[in-house]
């Protein structure tokens, strides 16, 4: 405990930090906005129109706060806020480095787009049963998971986003949803419980739950056996959350069942929380254990990306094909982790951003297509090109981008990842990335050619379709435009990803941001450094 051998210190002063700067409040702004508006919408859930307006305001503010946070971190470096101003490692800290801010920014962007899309997608009864409160609280939970600097707190945010996602996935209560929700909730709950076991062991061995504190203690640790066990347990739990092979079966079993806007936000955000947690785990907390596990992660990544895109080829339902493409993207993100070089991590971070935007856009666009065709079944797809040439163009762009073809945003991170794996001579990983790109192209272009390039097999267009919802379509197009911009002008995106990779490879910066410039062991010295 602090001050045990320094009885002169007044504990009230010693344990409390000075008040944070005004800009630092941005660290908790996404959390506060998400939950405040979620609670408001919950109270007003019977007034569907007012609730929708409030939710939109909340989502805009949420996005604005993540933009502000990102710019602040980009300019001032890692920002730390200790809850209750308790000195770390005693209080819960929110530690936002560029990695977390990056993911939070993508969360805000995707969340706003999904919110706009859902105005037409979620009907009145679904909104009355709490669509917007669940969405806002889930976004708050996802963003907080990216921002927190405490392992147990990360577990709590996992549970927060999980329970909100349960609410979202079950809205509508159709039979397939109940089945999908069962599989989704069982496996995700087991994954978070395994995560909690790993947290318990971490606490038992390190006596702390602060990520920066664990990082500096694990670096000094001579007996690596227990640490490697914990790292492996974390790896299993997070891989399950991220839907990596062989623990990915829950994703294609459930992601096609809920509302399409719910699928979109799940595909964009939830699996990436697992990827983020893996990056945080192996780059910040236990970098020493990565070499031992890197071969396993590399094989898992390669199998995940290839089997994911092969699974997409085997699907009749377009939404289920997209579920497998999400899995394939997870494999590509994981490929950068075991290589742990500047190039590979740049690729991973850039690909994660790309995938968050693109997978959401794909689900949203396929939702519009399915609604216009009256079915998501490839056997019954067709006839869309005559009616909506713009949709064809948008889907084609998305297909190219998700497959990593030029000139779109999927290309650059894949180049980085392939180069990184060839640099260290792991040719099979590079081959797997290229092969999965090819298979993804075939799967998506098949959806394209069946939906757009042939006559509808049922004859004329289904009679009772609504017109395309304009705001939802525009939200999708904005996401696609982001991919085009990042593809044609990748320089700023690569610079940011490059800096994130540098920070990940040098966790000293993360530790010093929490504990002050000197990595002092005694709490007393740390206090001086902080004042």
């Amino acid at each position: 405990m602090a001050g045990e051998d320094k009885p002169k210190i007044d504990l009230a002063d010693a344990l409390v930090l000075p008040s944070p700067d005004l800009a630092d409040w941005l660290v908790v702004a996404p959390l506060c906005i998400g939950f405040a508006f979620g609670a408001l919408c919950l109270m007003l859930r019977k007034d569907v129109r007012l609730q929708t307006r409030l939710a939109m305001t909340g989502l805009v503010l949420f996005f604005a706060s993540t933009v502000g946070l990102f710019l602040n971190v980009l300019e001032n470096g890692t920002t730390v806020m200790a809850m209750g101003r308790w000195l770390p490692p005693f209080g819960i800290t929110f530690t936002v480095d560029l990695l977390g801010a990056n993911f939070a920014l993508a969360t805000g962007f995707v969340g706003l787009a999904v919110g706009i899309y859902s105005v037409a997608d979620a009907d009145k009864s679904e909104r009355r049963y709490g669509y917007y409160p669940f969405l806002l609280m889930m976004l708050g939970g996802v963003a907080s998971a990216f921002l927190t600097g405490d392992v147990f707190n990360l577990y709590v945010w996992f549970e927060v986003l999980l329970i909100s996602s349960f609410g979202l996935i079950i809205l509508g209560s159709r039979q397939a949803q109940l089945d999908g929700a069962l599989r989704y909730s069982f496996l995700n709950l087991v994954a978070t419980t395994l995560f909690l076991i790993a947290v318990a062991y971490t606490y038992g061995i390190f006596g702390t739950l602060n990520m920066a504190d664990i990082a500096r203690k694990s670096a000094d640790m001579s007996d690596v056996g227990p640490r490697a066990t914990i790292a492996a347990l974390f790896l299993f739990a997070f891989a399950m959350k991220a839907a990596a092979f062989p623990v990915n079966a829950w994703l294609p079993a459930s992601y096609h069942t809920p509302l399409i806007s719910v699928s979109a936000v799940f595909a964009g955000l939830l699996t990436k929380v697992g990827v983020y947690a893996l990056l945080r785990l192996f780059m910040t907390m236990f970098p020493g254990d990565l070499p031992d596990l890197s071969m396993i992660i590399a094989v898992v990544a390669a199998v995940t990306m290839v089997l994911g895109s092969m699974g997409a080829l085997a699907q009749t339902d377009m939404r289920r094909a997209l579920g497998f493409i999400v899995i394939s993207g997870i494999g590509i993100m994981l490929a950068g982790l075991p290589l742990a070089s500047q190039t590979s991590l740049t690729g991973t971070v850039f690909y994660a951003m790309h995938s968050m935007v693109i997978m959401t856009a794909l689900y949203m666009l396929v939702g519009i297509m399915g609604q216009q065709m009256g079915s998501f079944d490839l056997h019954r797809a067709g006839g869309l090109y005559v009616r909506f040439p713009l949709l064809a163009f948008a889907f084609f762009i998305l297909a190219l981008s998700a497959s990593g073809l030029p000139p779109l945003s999927g290309l650059w991170p894949k180049i980085y990842l392939v180069k990184a794996s060839i640099d260290v001579g792991i040719w099979w990983l590079a081959g797997a990335i290229l092969l999965s790109g090819l298979l993804t192209t075939i799967a998506l272009v098949r959806i394209f050619s069946f939906s757009f390039w042939r006559e509808s097999p049922d004859g004329a267009a289904p009679a009772d379709v609504r017109a395309i919802d304009r705001p939802g379509l525009y939200a999708t197009l904005v996401l696609i435009a982001a991919s085009i911009v990042a593809g044609l002008y990748p320089e700023p995106f690569i610079q940011v990803a490059d800096r994130v990779a540098f920070e990940l490879l040098h966790p000293v910066g993360y530790i010093e941001a929490v504990f002050g410039p000197t990595t002092a062991e005694a709490a007393g010295q740390t206090i001086e450094a902080n004042q």
């Binding site: 405990m1 001050g3 045990e4 009885p7 210190i9 007044d10 504990l11 147990f152 709590v156 549970e159 999980l162 329970i163 349960f166 079950i170 209560s173 039979q175 397939a176 949803q177 109940l178 089945d179 999908g180 929700a181 069962l182 599989r183 909730s185 069982f186 709950l189 087991v190 419980t193 909690l196 076991i197 947290v199 318990a200 062991y201 606490y203 038992g204 294609p252 079993a253 459930s254 096609h256 069942t257 080829l313 085997a314 699907q315 009749t316 490839l378 056997h379 098949r446 069946f450 042939r454």
Partner: protein, 125 residues
Amino acid sequence: MEVAMVALTGLFFTVSFYLMLSRHVVRIILGIALLSNGVNLTIFTAGRLTREVPPFIAPDANFPVEGIANPLPQALVLTAIVIAFSFFAFLLVLVFRAYQELGSDDSEKMRVAEPVDEPAPPMGY
């Protein structure tokens, strides 16, 4: 004391994994409930078991006396209990609704989202 707790935790995990391997959904949720309780015991044991002194600081002292009980694992376990309990309540309702709608608690017979005999995707125009 630690040995007894570890054995108990191991028993919890064994029973819960056995139950979760079942095809019947009711057994799976019982397994999950046991798993979360096993984890709570793990956290408790990982925080070291002491039973001497409650963690209070005397009014005239700056720091607690030696050998106090560790309050942090109790806070962690409390959080975990609340979370696990709410999830269990949700799952219970979900399982009941699924049983009502799908008429079975056998997960092999509940395959509505992923039908077993789904046709292959179209092979050509």
